[in-house]
Symmetry: C2
């Protein structure tokens, strides 16, 4: 490898190490750190961020990137070297175009905003949070202005989470989802009470849940030699390289649903991280290429596979053994219907698979109204409530169950919500192609034989890391550009059958 490229690689390797270390400390803080460790941990994480920034966003790194680009000299654009230079250049520009003072102000406003949001939600008082959101929107406009090449301020924000995605594409996809789902869910609502899910609440001892969850995810792909499963209040996945994947879940006393589906969800994230080609290890090409594609894998394993009829059949004997009381007389069909019961609700993180998309669309539409529609933030709660009425047929009783429910905006994550639904859409596309290329995939799931599915996903998606752009990566895995069709076919097919809607 030529000298500048080699130097760049080593420098990026060090930056990568600092990020991995910070990820490890953050995992530790959320999972096992003694409470009083927090202030010292904040100092340590701050130092790591400072050093990583100094090392990466320096003129030396910029010069190395430029010199390495010269050395490429017609190399395969999808090869390691060209990709490394392309991704390094993109990340470097992102990091150097924003003034340090603005970044500091964003961090400060995020910390204050989070604190205010906690209070506001507790008191269900929009007035406490409104000025903080106003300040954050102002700062995010300044931030977006650092990227004048973007089509709009919102496009610049979206690009941080879904690199290269244009908001016009999101708008088209979300419009189709909304136009299909709103009337479809209205039809389901008329038939909703025919599903019994009462047995899902009952005597579900935590120790039996943990043993069951460990058995299930071990079959799905969790490998104790290179993974950990722990408990966290807000389940998440962290990767410290491809050989140290840490997922978390949470156990409720009276239901296994949270533990079981969170574990499947985070296993999906973990499989994507663990599947990067070993040659990409310790470079910024390892890992997921966008939040949407990452979420496509958590949702594919949690929903498309984990909530499928075939998976229910495979998992039920283990569930009956683990929970002989409540699960004793439950049939495969009853179990499948119960965990897929559709019930519009006010809270996004409690939503079922069919109503979830509308929660995201509402948030995204309100972000459009804020950034491009001149919506006054004083009117945001009423706008929120109106959309829940129109799309889900629900009355929001107070802001704690409405506009104040999510943490994201308080910390400045504006433009983030759409990636959740993009993940569902991409999962639909990827699964459709996979099912076309692996004949009898449902029989494999029913038999608990997930290896061929993992192998296909690794070959088409996981192993490539960030070698290609997100759009190219999706196209390579799904066989085409972003398209709501397969996802809507999947949703209406699955829930149409469950609720007798043709």
């Amino acid at each position: 490898m030529p000298p500048a490229l080699e130097q760049l690689r080593e420098r990026l390797g060090q930056v990568h190490d600092l990020h991995v270390v910070a990820m490890g400390l953050s995992w530790d803080q959320q999972v096992i750190m003694p409470p009083r460790g927090a202030p010292g941990r904040a100092e340590a994480l701050g130092t790591l961020e400072t050093l990583a920034h100094e090392r990466f966003a320096s003129e030396e790194t910029g010069a190395l990137i430029a010199a390495a680009r010269e050395e490429l000299n017609g190399a395969d654009p999808d090869g390691f070297a060209a990709s490394l230079v392309r991704v390094a250049a993109r990340d470097w520009e992102k990091e150097t175009k924003v003034p340090v003072a603005l970044k500091a102000e964003l961090a400060r406003a995020g910390a204050l905003g989070y604190e205010a949001w906690t209070k506001a939600r507790g008191a269900s008082d929009w007035g406490i949070f409104r000025p903080h959101l106003a300040r954050m929107v102002e700062l995010r406009r300044e931030y977006a202005a650092c990227f004048p090449e973007a089509d709009s301020a919102y496009d610049a924000l979206l690009d941080d989470f879904e690199p290269g995605m244009r908001n016009a594409e999101v708008a088209e996809v979300f419009r189709r989802v909304r136009e299909t789902l709103v009337p479809f869910l209205a039809e389901i609502a008329e038939r909703a009470d025919r599903v019994d899910n009462a047995f899902l609440t009952g005597d579900y001892p935590v120790a039996a849940q943990e043993a069951l969850v460990r058995r299930v995810i071990a079959e799905v792909g969790f490998d104790p030699e290179g993974w950990r499963l722990d408990v966290a209040v807000h389940p998440f996945a962290a990767s410290l390289g491809t050989q140290d994947i840490r997922i978390t879940t949470r156990f409720d006393d009276d239901s296994f649903l949270m533990a079981y589906f969170s574990a499947l969800h985070e296993t999906g994230h973990g499989l994507y991280e663990a599947g990067s080609d070993p040659s990409l290890e310790r470079t910024l090409l390892s890992g997921g290429v966008s939040l949407g594609l990452h979420e496509s894998q958590s949702r594919l394993w949690e929903n498309v596979i984990g909530r499928s009829r075939a998976f229910c059949g495979w998992a039920l004997p283990g569930l009956r053994e683990a929970f002989p009381g409540p699960m004793a007389g439950v049939s495969e069909d009853e179990f499948y219907a119960a965990i897929n019961r559709v019930e519009p609700g006010l809270i996004r993180i409690q939503a079922d698979e069919a109503t979830y998309p509308l929660h995201i669309i509402i948030r995204w539409e309100l972000e459009q109204a804020i950034f491009d529609g001149g919506l006054d933030l004083a009117d945001l709660p009423e706008a929120w409530n109106a959309k829940y009425r129109d799309y889900l047929g629900l009355e929001v009783p107070d802001d704690a169950h409405g506009v104040l429910q999510d943490v994201h905006w308080s910390e400045g994550m504006l433009g983030y919500f759409p990636t959740y639904l993009l993940g569902n859409v991409m999962a639909g596309q990827i699964w459709q192609r996979l099912a076309g290329e692996i004949p009898g995939v449902e029989a494999l799931v029913a038999a608990g034989d997930f290896a061929p599915i993992r192998a296909w996903l690794t070959d088409r998606l996981y192993r490539h890391g960030r070698i290609r752009t997100p759009a190219e990566t999706l196209s390579h895995a799904a066989g085409g550009p972003l398209d709501a069709g397969p996802y809507l076919d999947y949703l209406t097919g699955k829930f149409g059958a469950l609720y007798g809607i043709s």
Copy 2:
């Protein structure tokens, strides 16, 4: 605070953060990391070390130290500022006087030596390890030559672990210990079989052990808001600042001794780390001032307190409740005698309190023979075996149970062993003074009231961190310089009473 001092403090704070982070990752690796994470972890730790070294051992740091020293201008030499400059200067000189190439070679030889030692011990074959030890001795001589101001090569090595300690002091103390203990142990040997400790092996369920150990150390000073207890193959303590203390222990199936006394030992280390004054946090003045003083606290809590008659009386009801089978009919005196049974053995880490010192003295004497006595390494096993015969009356059957039992030399830790016994000696001195100043301290222990003991130790030792030199720190805590007398009085008093020797 004047500018250079403030800059120095911030720079040292960053270096401290990197060390804390490395400590956290090392804890993680020994306690919970999935096995396949090791190579990535090695890269990350390497990067942290490189960055910490670059930042600390730079000319800028040297210039800041010099400028800060100018600013002191007659400040109290035991004050924060003067101590920070003194300790920073000492550490900086230690780190900059050794050529980088020699450090790299030491690291390489240590890695190879460790590997060879593992094989050699497994095969009980001295020949496999000898050339590696020879290379390490050669490199350590080169290392010592970087510090020509030391009285001898061995003094230079010792200074890394026990800063400022001269080997002549060690020699005098160790001579007294040996001359007292060898005949004393010979007397005990004649009476050894009168102590029954058979009940210490039996039905000791691990879950009951863990609950018991947690209850005991919670009384001694473990605080779940700022500490963790976990399991490690080789128990150790790590501090990530004073508010995140992590200790470990190990559980055997058929005996609680390892778990119980390791936990007390590591709690002692933890109390020293946790007790640094908050104003020293995130500076290199926080934490223990030398390995010997650190070990004085682990041994004080494990042995002087934890194996005392008073502590046995306090702990026995809890032990009976936890282990109703084997501990049912055991009296306080029987328990006290059993855990203090003296039995010369071949293995250092299994040694009782009375014979332990001779294991250390043997190693230290052999290190003298290697560095100053011209001992040929081919003759080291026989020299080892001769000393075990002379001092402990034992025949060494093979090198795995002799010269190959410890890991230290393989990794280049020559000059380290004496700190273990120095810790015992210092613990004897500190305890004698404490007992003189806290009337009725034994009654406090018997009542499980450890707060006054912790408060005294915090006031005289823990809170000062590295504000004073190790010698000054010992003198402040113990009321005088290093002295074997109190320790020997303690040992001969305790074991004389137990074995009826006047």
